[in-house]
């Protein structure tokens, strides 16, 4: 127990918690994208995947509980660390000039909050089907039809693309930061690990954005 409490109470331990839970969330996002890309294989493939996901409930719930735990830990570490950081400088500078801080690093809390809002909307939209009343007419696993119906609207597509851009911004700093926080950095491969953030987040975002864009432009219907 002393190990756990010390880890959570120390700034370095809390950052480690942030990094590890962040990696779990990235793992989920990668798996999620792989599933989403089945939309390009046609309605049968995507709907069969959606049905397959829900066919074995213990595994589904194990994954869900893991995911929710990672979310809670990530948010908890974020709140805890940023509150401490606010207290660490009670008197702000009259003039402050940063030299190397990226916009992504500066806005992690903001992009994180936006992503939380998006995640809740996303659940209401496609999991609980609360936002689009016309979904009631569709079959339980007709994910394909739901996507086509949703992304034909410029508002839904636009909001989705903006949210993915936010995710890209968040991961841009987050992925690079992950390696540094876990101490996987050294002079030899520092630049390589720091490319991981921009490269990985851009690839992920490109994959996610391809779907609403293709539907909106009528490439898949």
């Amino acid at each position: 127990m002393s190990f756990l409490s010390r880890t959570v109470n120390s700034s370095v331990g809390c950052k480690t918690l942030m990094a590890v839970s962040g990696l779990a969330l990235v793992g989920f996002i990668v798996a999620h994208l792989a599933g989403n890309l089945l939309v390009f294989a046609g309605p049968t493939a995507l709907n069969a995947y959606a049905k397959g996901l829900r066919s074995y409930l213990p595994l589904l719930w194990a994954l869900r509980i893991g995911l929710i735990t990672a979310f809670i830990l990530h948010i908890y570490a974020g709140i805890r660390l940023s509150r401490r950081a606010q207290q660490a400088r009670p008197q702000a500078y009259v003039k402050r000039k940063t030299q190397v801080t990226t916009g992504a690093a500066q806005t992690m809390i903001l992009s994180g909050l936006l992503l939380l809002f998006f995640a809740l909307y996303h659940l209401a939209h496609l999991t609980f089907r609360l936002t689009h009343p016309q979904f009631a007419a569709l079959g339980e696993f007709d994910v394909y039809a739901m996507l086509i119906a949703s992304f034909q609207s410029p508002w839904t597509s636009g909001f989705y693309i903006l949210s993915i851009a936010t995710l890209m911004l968040h991961l841009n700093h987050g992925m690079a930061s992950f390696f540094q926080t876990l101490g996987l950095d050294s002079r030899r491969h520092a630049s390589l690990l720091f490319m991981a953030g921009p490269v990985f987040s851009t690839l992920l975002a490109a994959g996610f954005i391809a779907i609403p864009l293709s539907i909106f432009l009528g490439l898949i219907a």
Binding site: S2, A85, A88, V94, R96, V100, L182, G183, L184, D185
Partner: protein, 257 residues
């Protein structure tokens, strides 16, 4: 050179401070920044006003005593140097210069631009002793140390403990300072005995002093007058995680505190 200075004036730790503007004439570009402040103080004394209090000692960039955030940058616009190594040729005639203390909860202002940085001393104290064999002078090379390890340890040992890393960090984090000290000792065989205890105690003290965490923005590295690399922070994280996993509660000096 003619200059307009905006200087943080604060009478005591308890009183609120504010920026006060001063005009200076006939400043030579060959003067150091601290000599320029000396001129300001001569002028203030002639007007029977309180001179501006600021920290300085060696004035050759090795003691770590001078501080100041100049135009929003710790130790001013020149990279890899301390404030005392900054010269007025880095500024232009007619420039406005903002001069503030290093700002952090763990560095309370004593007066004007002078801050109390003894929180750094307490972090060093928390690190404790390093077990060495006492007695006669040891034979040269009796303790083999790879050249690369010695060089890297020396790079980290170059830290003068000025606190610019804290001043530049958006979270007022002391991670670059602490990691430089931890890395220096973790690389050498002499410090190995206390390796786990030291990193846990120093990070514990750092948190207790009220410094923030590391957000990996690396502003600290950019302002460090000794150009300490942030790879030391990665090393500290590695050392900390390793120690947290290996350390037994009985050998922990912090558990009784």
């Amino acid at each position: 050179m003619r200059l307009v200075l905006h200087v943080w004036r604060q009478k005591s730790p308890e009183e609120a401070g504010a920026m006060v503007s001063y005009r200076l004439k006939e400043i030579s570009p060959d003067m150091s920044f601290l000599e320029m402040l000396d001129i300001l103080n001569e002028q203030l004394l002639a007007e029977e006003k309180d001179p501006v209090a600021f920290d300085h000692d060696c004035r050759e960039g090795i003691c770590g005593m001078c501080s100041l955030v100049i135009n929003g940058q710790a130790h001013g616009p020149q990279s890899g140097t301390t404030t005392c190594q900054l010269h007025m040729r880095s500024f232009k005639d007619g420039d406005e210069i903002y001069i503030e203390p290093f700002r952090a909860k763990a560095f309370p202002v004593i007066r004007d631009l002078v801050t109390n940085r003894s929180s750094f001393d307490r972090i060093i104290q928390a690190g404790g002793f390093v077990s060495v064999r006492t007695g006669g002078v040891p034979d040269g090379n009796a303790l083999p140390i790879p050249k690369t390890a010695a060089d890297l340890a020396m790079d980290f040992a170059a830290c003068i403990g000025c606190g610019a890393c804290v001043a530049a960090c958006k979270n007022a984090s002391a991670m670059l300072f602490v990691s430089a000290k931890v890395s220096q000792l973790a690389l050498l065989p002499q410090g190995k005995v206390e390796r786990e205890r030291r990193v846990l105690a120093m990070v514990g003290q750092m948190d207790q002093e009220g410094f923030g965490h590391c957000s990996n923005t690396f502003e600290c590295e950019a302002v460090c007058p000794k150009e300490i690399s942030v790879s030391s922070i990665a090393r500290l994280n590695r050392e900390y995680t390793r120690a947290a996993l290996l350390e037994r509660p009985s050998s922990s000096p912090t558990s009784s505190e």
